[in-house]
């Protein structure tokens, strides 16, 4: 008999498109595909403006994840892959996007995407991805001037949060809110490693800590971890957070408290920053090719 176990780490896939825009009226259609370790996004831009996107979980096969992400973005638009002038692949699976015209690192794409989403005053970007964390400085054009990443350890990443969601049986999307349901802020869990932090959290539960208190301690540890990465490159205002964890209030507000800086809030989905940056790179590259008479 199979047990029907709820997966608390699982978040819903979704797509979006600008229904007020007709892509056929545009001149240049570009796409960015960000194949990350946990999620994949496809963004379609028309003349450098956001038109549609899709966010899916990355499967075991990067090319399939890229295809699935783009198919979802194209859904109900009447657009096909052939209508797209240039595609840029990014993320850890960037070289496995079969229909990409070029691959660009996610560091450069996140900086470009953040510049679009939060404005050209952004200088420091924190990308909290599925399995890595990056601190990036950029100039007013969104060009990277300094970066540092840590992808050796899952502490301070989305996957680490998913592990805890499953352990505590709390939907991953509710962790942030729940972590504030404490009378006073507990000390952070001492372990930075996800595996040890999980063991430590189990011990705290055994000691009678409520879930909200364990979550507060875990979010605080995660915030400390990424804040030290940011401090090592230096904080320059203005500050913006990209990636899935940017949606977790429990981590974001604790990072802001440690650093004494408020992150810029925007109407855009923080998780699409990399793919959006890739789509914007695609436009620039397409225009360069056109100017050379290659496209």
């Amino acid at each position: 008999m199979t047990e029907n176990k709820q997966e608390f780490w699982r978040w819903s896939e979704y797509n979006w498109r600008d229904e007020n825009k007709d892509w056929r009226e545009g001149n240049i259609v570009t796409a960015g595909i960000d194949v990350g370790s946990v999620s994949s996004q496809a963004v379609i831009c028309v003349d450098g403006e956001l038109y549609a996107f899709n966010n899916v979980r990355t499967g075991s096969n990067s090319p399939d994840s890229a295809r699935r992400a783009l198919e979802g973005a194209l859904k109900d638009t009447g657009m096909t892959r052939d209508d797209i002038n240039f595609v840029v692949g990014t993320g850890y699976g960037r070289v496995n996007v079969p229909f990409a015209d070029k691959a660009v690192t996610e560091i450069a794409c996140h900086a470009r995407g953040a510049n679009f989403m939060a404005g050209n005053e952004v200088r420091t970007i924190l990308d909290m991805g599925g399995q890595d964390c990056k601190a990036i400085h950029c100039d007013e054009k969104g060009k990277v001037t300094n970066f540092k990443m840590n992808d050796k350890c899952a502490a301070g990443t989305g996957r680490g949060m998913e592990v805890l969601a499953d352990l505590l049986e709390v939907p991953v999307t509710e962790i942030g809110e729940m972590s504030f349901q404490v009378d006073e802020e507990p000390p952070p869990v001492s372990s930075t490693c996800v595996v040890f932090a999980k063991s430590e959290s189990m011990a705290l539960l055994k000691d009678g800590w409520p879930k909200s208190k364990v979550l507060a301690a875990y979010c605080a540890a995660m915030a400390q971890r990424v804040a030290s990465l940011l401090e090592s490159v230096g904080m320059q205002e203005k500050f913006f957070i990209t990636g899935g964890i940017a949606k977790n209030r429990g981590v974001v507000e604790r990072i802001e408290k440690i650093l004494g800086v408020k992150a810029i809030q925007t109407k855009f989905d923080s998780q699409i920053a990399g793919a959006l940056g890739a789509a914007l790179f695609a436009k620039t590259l397409y225009e360069k090719r056109q100017a050379k008479g290659v496209a």
Partner: protein, 93 residues
């Protein structure tokens, strides 16, 4: 651009920093040959510039890969740092 390649783990910070503005003024790229472990390569970065970078395969194991050039006592100058005429390479540990 200041490119920091490496990682932090339980034992410390292991980053090699390359100031790529220096690479733009360099035509020799001696860092590539100077490293006995082939840690460096010249790549075309995202902005179409030819710059030095730490190769992908070594980025998560620098503490071990670079240990040959970092004996515990009387460490000599690092060959990669010495080879760079622009003083663009530094190690965090």
């Amino acid at each position: 651009m200041k490119a920091n390649y490496g990682y932090t783990d339980g034992s410390g910070d292991y980053y090699i920093t390359i100031e790529t503005e220096g690479c733009l003024k360099c035509t020799e790229h001696d860092c590539v040959d100077a490293c006995p472990q082939d840690v460096f390569a010249i790549i075309e970065d995202d902005y179409d510039d030819l710059v030095a970078a730490v190769v992908e395969e070594h980025r998560r194991s620098l503490a071990y890969v670079c240990s040959e050039c970092k004996p515990a006592s009387d460490p000599p100058p690092l060959p990669c740092v010495e080879a760079c005429p622009q003083n663009a390479i530094s190690h965090s540990w």
